[in-house]
Symmetry: C2
Subunit: 116 residues, 2 copies
């Protein structure tokens, strides 16, 4: 582990976390795997936990970010909607822009750390 | 609780959190109160916890951020060093710059949320 800046961006709807780094990673995994169960496996997360995260995202936004097609208890496919794609893109853009905006300050503060 | 973006910046030294929102707030409270015990009280935190946070910060940076003057078990005074002031200033600058950099994206993503 090197010295670094850690940077966490979360979208809060009331007191619920509508979106954060874990949920965005899950969206990306669902887009890549085509199912919630596949995405959960890829992320080393239980199907139940992945499903709950998707449910929170879908309830938090005016349109669902993930839609599922039926196919048995864990067998159905899932895909990221256009709203989901927009949300992922905006989140990534925010991350990139923040990182760019603080690059110089980050170097300055890291220099003040005691060497490891 | 309204809908909003939450934004957490942490400085990691190896796997230890050298600085984050709580530690910066504690530095500000120490600067305002002139003692660790006063700052702890103001933040509703135990003296022990405040002391541990200060200890972590002081060990993490090449120069201490807080110095204490002796005065009994909890009675001594504490002040923020010049390095501590620099660290607070850089942290606050990073926060301001990130917030400014993502303002438009933040509005865009908050608009996609389901109304509360």
């Amino acid at each position: 582990m090197e010295n670094r800046l850690d940077f966490k961006l979360r979208v809060l709807r009331g007191d619920e976390i509508a979106l954060g780094p874990g949920k965005v990673a899950l969206l990306e995994a669902i887009a890549a795997c085509g199912s919630i169960s596949g995405a959960a496996r890829a992320m080393g997360m239980s199907y139940r936990r992945a499903w709950l995260l998707v449910d929170t995202m879908n309830r938090s936004f005016s349109e669902p970010l993930v839609i599922t097609s039926p196919g048995g208890s864990k067998g159905g496919g899932a895909s990221v909607t256009q709203t989901g794609e927009s949300v992922m893109a905006i989140y990534r853009a925010m991350q990139r822009r923040s990182e760019a905006a603080i690059q110089d300050d980050a170097q300055a503060i890291l220099k003040l750390l005691h060497p490891l």
